[in-house]
Amino acid sequence: MAAERPGGEGGPAGTGAAAAFSKSEMMIVAAARELAGQRVCFVGVGLPNIAVNLAKRTVAPDMELVYEAGVFGARPARLPLSIGDPTIVTGATAVTSMWELFAYYLQGGLIDVGFLGAAQIDRFGNINTTVIGDYAHPKTRLPGSGGACEIAINARQIFVIMRQSARSFVERIDFRTSPGNLGGAEKAERIRREQGWLGRGPSVVVTDLGIWHFDETGEMRLDFLHPGATLDEIRATLGWEPHISPSLAPTPVPTPEELRLIRDELDPEGMYTK
């Protein structure tokens, strides 16, 4: 396993020369790979944007990218800096009003994966992007829901990408902007069924330290540990005692091609990966 430092290093899966990579690059690569086999992905602002665009160039070339700005089937020629960018329009399959995008595409049930970022998350994948502290007098005012609240409810499954820290992976989030598995799988499934949600909730959280899926209790379970990360580091950046998979495995390191795509094509300025 690579030395524990920001920018761990390791050989590409299989053979080949070792390549240095940052924790952010590992996170983005791991998130992109999770999208293999997905058909329609709703792309959130920030890290999801680069992860999804990497997946489109690697494991999921036929995946349709949906942007809440009103784009279906985007083919961005460059990494869009924000989720609204002229490059997601030119060459897209369809551009529509936001009313139609949210009503007919998202709420209508056409989205397989909603890919979100988060400021705070709890063990059940409930997400806060609204405030840190009290709502009326917050310590930090965050952006708010944007489309995240309705994506969490209406996309078939939710992927999350975010850096791990004790401030962000918390026992209790300060505000529930986007519902995850609520207080656990049983309650969440009952409520989804009763209220007719199309979403089945969160299925993966990719961090700069590892990959978490959700187990049958509805809690995050660490299935992969990134090269360079340790379980101590995992525990030090979590507000709860984590479920660790008995078959915990190391995350395969980024391939040279994945790194080249990130560094040369998607993020030459290092906005996401510094």
Binding site: V45, E68, A69, G70, V71, L81, S82, I83, G84, D85, P86, V89, T90, G91, V95, T96, S97, M98, W99, F102, A103, L106, Q107, T130, Y135, A136, H137, P138, K139, T140, R141, L142, P143, G144, S145, G146, G147, A148, C149, E150, I153, N154, F175, R176, T177, S178, P179, L182, I191, E194, Q195, G196, W197, M271
Partner: protein
């Protein structure tokens, strides 16, 4: 058809935007009328309720200039960069003097749609099991009359004034947009008064040659302002790109109240309008924002039927 609605930005804002109004400058990342926002600052409007899905840099500037008493919104940030620092100063910690009324994106769109359609509410499948209806009691549950459960409702949003920017309109205000459409149609139909700002004024025949491209008919438009580069630093599909440098530069400026004031003096108060602003930006900077090449739509045939 009838008389021309073409006006200067000064006259349009002077006649149509009043202290205390609810003002929506809409455009989702695309076609944001910074030109109108700056004119509202310049004319020192006060106590505005500013509605916008994404109060980005333009509303940060307007809040910094003291025009607003309240925001109605769904995502509050400098997209791709970070927070909105002027707004944070009056919404965090001890100073929460700027009132906030908060929805999700679909909630905001649905509010405009309800306003445009003169409906008392719009139902949607958002907000289940979230804290948003607690934070905003205007988000209310509503039971289906078909016995199949409860969804949420949002109330109509009917701005006093909506401002949109577009690629082109004719003198009567018939307006066409391509690329991202955002919620501009809904926000315009919902409003009492509408200002359309365009890159290009075109003859009515250009509009009538492609009626499916019209998003807002002149009948709901009160003024047409011709203001090339009026959406900078946001972008206009096919005309100019987003000026990412501007969004990044705004971050350190807006962290410092004195630097923010200086910026407002240099770029808003001391300029008499958008032409002066574009000149100050400089031809070189603007040229760098032109698309790397054309991407023509192709032509469709509507056919002549006599």
């Amino acid at each position: 058809m009838s008389g021309s609605k073409v006006a200067t930005m000064r006259d349009a804002v002077g006649a149509l935007v009043r202290d205390g109004d609810t003002v929506a400058i809409e455009g989702f990342t695309h076609l944001i009328s910074f030109a109108a926002g700056h004119e509202i600052i310049r004319q020192r409007r006060r106590d505005l309720v500013l509605a916008r899905m994404t109060p980005d840099v333009i509303y940060d500037q307007m809040v910094a200039a003291g025009v607003a008493r309240k925001l109605i919104f769904s995502w509050l940030g400098n997209p791709g960069v970070g927070g909105l620092n002027a707004i944070r100063r009056v919404t965090e910690g001890a100073d929460t003097s700027l009132e906030l009324e908060e929805y999700s994106h679909f909630g905001m769109v649905a509010r405009y749609a309800a306003g445009a359609a003169n409906l008392p509410f719009m139902p949607l499948r958002s907000y289940f099991e979230t804290d948003l209806p607690v934070a905003n009691p205007l988000i209310r549950p509503i039971e289906s009359p078909y016995g199949d459960g409860t969804v949420y409702a949002v109330p109509p949003l009917k701005p006093d004034v909506t401002v949109i920017h577009a690629q082109r309109a004719d003198a009567a205000g018939n307006t066409q947009v391509w690329g991202l459409l955002g919620c501009q149609k809904e926000a315009a139909f919902a409003a009492d008064r509408v200002i359309v700002v365009v890159e290009e004024l075109v003859d009515e025949t250009v509009i009538r040659a492609d009626p499916n491209r019209t998003i807002v008919p002149g009948i709901v438009v009160d003024a047409v302002v011709v203001e090339p580069w009026g959406a900078h630093p946001s972008y206009v599909q096919g005309r100019y790109d987003r000026d990412n440098r501007f969004y990044r530069d705004w971050d350190p400026i807006s962290r410092d109240p004195a630097a923010t004031d200086q910026w407002l003096r240099d770029w808003v108060y001391d300029l008499d309008g958008r032409a002066a602003y574009a000149e100050k930006l400089g031809a070189e900077r603007l040229r760098a924002l032109l698309p790397s090449g054309p991407a023509p739509s192709g032509v469709v045939d509507y056919g002549e039927y006599r």
